[in-house]
Every structure is written in C-alpha cells, then in structure tokens.
Amino acid sequence: MTSPLLNVQNLVTRFYSDGAVIHAVNDVSFSLNAGESMAIVGESGSGKSVTVMSIMRLIRHPPGRIEGGKVFFEGQDLLAISEDEMRKIRGNRIAMIFQDPMTSLNPVLSIGLQMTESIQLHLGLSLKEAREKAIKMLSLVGLPKPQERIDDFPFQFSGGQRQRVMIAMALSCNPTLLIADEPTTALDVTVQAQIIELIQGLQQKLGMAVIWISHNLAMVAGVVNKVAVMYGGHLVEQAPVDALYEQPRHPYTLGLLNAIPKLEGRAQGRLVAIDGMPPDLRREPDTCPFAPRCIYALDKCREALPPLTQSAPGQLSRCWRSDELDQIANKVELS
C-alpha cells in the first residue's frame, strides 16, 4: 500500500488566554490516502476546525500554539518546515474552503482578482493567463457566463454562487487535498445539496482527497469513505462510514446516530437528545471527555483517559467499554 497522502500523528494544539489553557486538540491522529474522502464530525468546540487549521498551520500565536505531533503530507512533516515553505503549500497543494462565503471573500476586491492572485503566486502565470484559468475554473464549478462575471464583486452573487466561487478559487491550483470546513452550513437547504454534489463531482474529476468538516453526520455520510468523530478535543472514534453506522463503538457516536431524525421507523417517537453540557476544554485531558454525559460511564472513565483501541482494520475508538457497547446499548434501548 502506498503511503498515505496525509498522516496526522498525535497532534496537540492549545490556546492560551487570560492565564487559562484551552486544550483544543488532544492527541489526534488519522490518515488519508490520495483521492480518498473523510469527514470529521463533532459538535461546536469539539476541535475539528482547530485540527484542520493546525494542519494548515493557520493557528495564530498568540493565542494558540501547535504543541506536539507530526503532520506528514506528501512525505514531509508540515510542522517542521519553514513558514515560507508552508506558504508554497497553502492554497497550492492543500486548499481550504470555509463556512460563510459572504464573509470569507474580500468584499472590495473583484472575484477575478481574488482568484488570480493565488494563481499567479503559485503557478507563476501572467495576469492574462491567470484570468483565463480563473474563467475556466468558474465554468467548471458551474457559474454561468464566467467571462462577464469575473470582474464582479462578491456582493453581486447569491450565496450558492459565492460558495462556487470559493470552490473555484480553492481548486484553481489543482491541490491534492481539499479541506471543506462546513461548506454548506451557511447556505439554503436547496443549495446545500448542489454544493455537496459539486464538490463530490470535482473530487472525482480531479482526483483529490477531501476532508469534510461537519456537525451534521447525516449530510456527509453519503459522500465520504470514512468518518472521524471528535469530542472535547479528542478523536473518540474513527471508522469507515458504513461500519460507523452499523456498529458505533463510542457512546457519543451512538448518541449522534440516535439523535438523527428518522423518516421511517419510530416516527412518532421523540428525538433522543444527549443530556448534559459540552465539555470544559480547560480541564486537563486526562479523563474521558464524554464521561459526564455518558449513560454507560464507569468510575474508571472518570479517572483515566481511555486509549485509542483498534477493534477492526480502520476502526478505532477511545472508550473503555467499546467492545461491549453493542450489547449494553441494545439493553438500554430495550429498557
């Protein structure tokens, strides 16, 4: 097997503010092969955005700092190279699109300029050539009449169109990895599906790997090969998407799946929410982060952090009771 395109090992990122330490990312590891797609899911504050920002080395210091781990991309450890070298990779080999295209695009520059500036920077093309490439990308993402609209400003586009522009901008240098941080959250429901389809199509056409960040497991399930679940700054479960659905091995994942409204089955039942409050990231990460809310929690969970154990190839979970989860879960359900 060829080495993975991206190999994150034991990533640790902390934030320092007002004397407090926030453990945003604790010992996160995962890998991704070329052309593969994965999702990182979790609630707000789980550390998923910080994780990918750490990969991109876009963590601002102050207040944040990547404190440990390695991030191997195309063979080199991104955490070890210089900032100049990292800049050559950002926007070029690894691209990122963000949640809100209105605020993520510079309102006073034309989209053409915003696209050509990175094309010229990374590919060394002349302005004329860069514009042609930009126009090509815009039509690739399905924007009508790109040569007329290339000098327009972001406010002249609709939400969905803006996201397409962002995608075109991100892909214009032909990256091998695309990170999509909640790309559809700010869009209308009808548009969301279009964007997801677009990204998926482009992924296959261009053969790049994609990391999807989302708090909506259901949305990304149909699109990715594997899923990583994060909670409280920890990676709590990782599995191929089908295996995750069929056999969740972490109580949080179980809770997420149960919370998904189902159209068939017990439609008349109430939504099953997960009780409790989100974790306090200022606490030392030496116990299971989910224990306070976990209905299966034991004393052991509150005393020590469970290690990441592999239950099957490509299936990892961080729970003392991951092996017995399917039994105790059914028992609880039936009761």
Partner: protein, 318 residues
C-alpha cells in the same frame, strides 16, 4: 454617479445661503461695530465722524438690506471691500489663502502618514508595549488642545532651544526661500497635525483590529499569500475605507484648528485674517471667509463621499 454629484451641488446652494444668512445675522448682533472699533469716543466730534463713516460703509441700513447688498455684490463676482483696509475682499483672501493651504495641507499629510502608520502598527502589534505607548500618545494627543501644544512647541524649540523661528511664514524682508519657509512651517504644521494624528491613529487602529479578524483575511492566508500581501491588499484595503471618511470629516476641524494655530504662530493665512476681521468687526471679510470655508467644507464632504464609493464597490449612488 453624475446625477448624484449634480444633486449634491444643487443641495449645496440652499445650505450656503442658510450659512451666510445665519452668520451675517449673528455677526451683526456682536456688540460694537467696525466703525466704533476704529474710532474711540474720546475723539472730539466723534459722533459725526462715526455717523459719516457708518454711512460710507453702509452700516446704517437695516440688516436685511445690508445682506441683500452683499448678495447682490456676490452675484457680480464681488465680495466687497474690507472695512479696515479698504482692499477688495477677494484680494485680501487671495493673498493669504496659499499660506493656509500650505499649513493645512502639510498638517493633514503629517496626520495621515503618521496617524495611519502608527494605527496600523499599533493594531498589528496589539497588546505589545508599542501598542500601549501609541494608545497613550493617542489619548494625550486628542486631549491636548491645539493652542496649548502650539505654545509648548514655541517655548521649547524656539525660545529655549533657539532652533526654529517663533512666528511668521518666512524671515521678513528676505527673498523667499523654500528652506526658510519650511523652517517656519515645521512647528505650526506639527501643532496642527498632531491632534489629528492621534485621532486618525485611533480610528485606523480600531478599523484594522476589526478587519484583521475577518474571515476573508483567514482565506487570504489559506491561499498561501505572504503577510505583506495579506496586510496591504486584504487588511488595509478594507480597514482604510472608514479612515478615508474620517479624514474627510476632519477637514472642518482642521479649518478651525488652523485659525488658532495661525494666531499663535502669526502665520499670515486666512485664519489670522479672520480673527483680525472679527476683532475689527470687518463684516465683508468675515463673510468672505465664512463663504470660502463653507464651500471648502461642502466640497471636501462631496469628494469624501465620492472617494468612499470609489474605494468600496458595495457603495453605489444613484
């Protein structure tokens, strides 16, 4: 855009009329008048003289008639004649306007360059000792009155250290030389510009801080752009837009401040002319100054608004 400019120009006319009417009325209510300021009542037969002179100057007419005469003259391109010196107001102003423009211009340039630069540095290095000291300087600059600063500068640099002249535009009687003029310009331009510097600095800092944390800055970095490009094209290009507006709004205060500074430094510009005219109740000169400054303020407001729309494509006038 053309329609917009036209509309603005048309709206300016009633504004100017209103300003001139109000100022004319207020000025006429000042106790004493131009003639009494020139002739003391100790002089024997002062009463006849006063009457005679007032008749000559048209001060015995009712106010609205005096205003009407002034407007009539204005429409013929004539601003009248100074009560004090007899010269035509236009030549009185024209002789002194360049000095004021020089002073205001240099002060504004100093304020913009220094203010924006310090504000940007302060914001980019937020919470550093640099930021704290610049912020302190900003507060001090806004709090210290222009005239006080002017007097302190004269005291330190002119009287105590003897480095720079204490007043005037140039060394009296010498042929004009640029370096001599600049030496006289330094202190007043700084006194006038420093307060503005502090204000621009605060606005720039606030604006840059706000823009710095915007998502599109993150996007720019994510595209791999270098810090310099991120700072100039993405941060400053957005952050400086409101600063342009602030600069435009500051112009009237620059006018007012110029009056004070010109008096302290005996800078022979229209501000000094205005103060002398007020003291001497020289109504034609007062009105000429008011009209001129009103026009300049309105023009600068219009230009600022136009610039705003040029810089920010989201702003479009129709």
């Amino acid at each position: 855009m053309f329609n917009y400019i036209l509309r603005r120009l048309l709206v300016s006319i009633p504004i100017l009329i209103g300003i001139t009417v109000i100022v004319f009325f207020i000025a006429s209510q000042m106790p004493g008048d131009a003639v009494l300021a020139m002739i003391s009542t100790d002089t024997p037969q002062a009463e006849d003289l006063v009457k005679l002179r007032r008749g000559q100057l048209g001060l015995d007419l009712p106010i609205y008639e005096q205003y009407g005469r002034w407007v009539g003259q204005l429409l013929h391109g004539n601003l009248g004649f100074s009560f004090q010196s007899g010269e035509s107001v236009i030549s009185v102003i024209a002789a002194r306007l360049p000095a004021t423009l020089e002073l205001m211009g240099v002060a504004l340039i100093i304020a913009i360059i220094l203010g924006v630069f310090l504000g940007v540095v302060s914001a980019l290095k937020q919470y550093s000792w640099l930021d704290y000291s610049f912020t302190f300087f900003g507060f001090a600059g806004i709090s210290i009155p222009d005239f006080f600063l002017g007097m302190v500068l004269v005291y330190v640099f002119s009287i105590e250290l003897g480095l720079l002249p204490s007043s005037g535009i140039s060394t009296a009687g010498n042929a004009f030389s640029l370096s001599d003029n600049l030496r006289h310009l330094i202190l007043p331009a700084f006194a006038l510009g420093l307060a503005r510097t502090a204000s621009f600095m605060r606005y720039t800092r606030a604006s840059v801080l706000e823009v710095m944390n915007n998502d599109y800055v993150r996007t720019a970095r994510a595209k791999g752009l270098g810090e310099r490009l991120v700072t100039t094209r993405h941060i400053l290009r957005n952050a400086l837009i409101p600063v342009v507006t602030v600069i435009g709004i500051t112009l009237p205060t620059l006018f007012g401040g110029a009056v004070i500074i010109e008096v302290i430094f005996q800078w022979a510009g229209i501000g000094l002319m205005f103060i002398n005219a007020v003291t001497g109740r020289d109504s034609p000169v007062i009105m000429g100054y008011v009209l001129l400054s009103a026009v300049i303020v309105l023009a600068s407001n219009l230009i600022t608004d136009i610039m705003y729309s040029v810089l920010d494509p989201r702003i479009r006038y129709d």
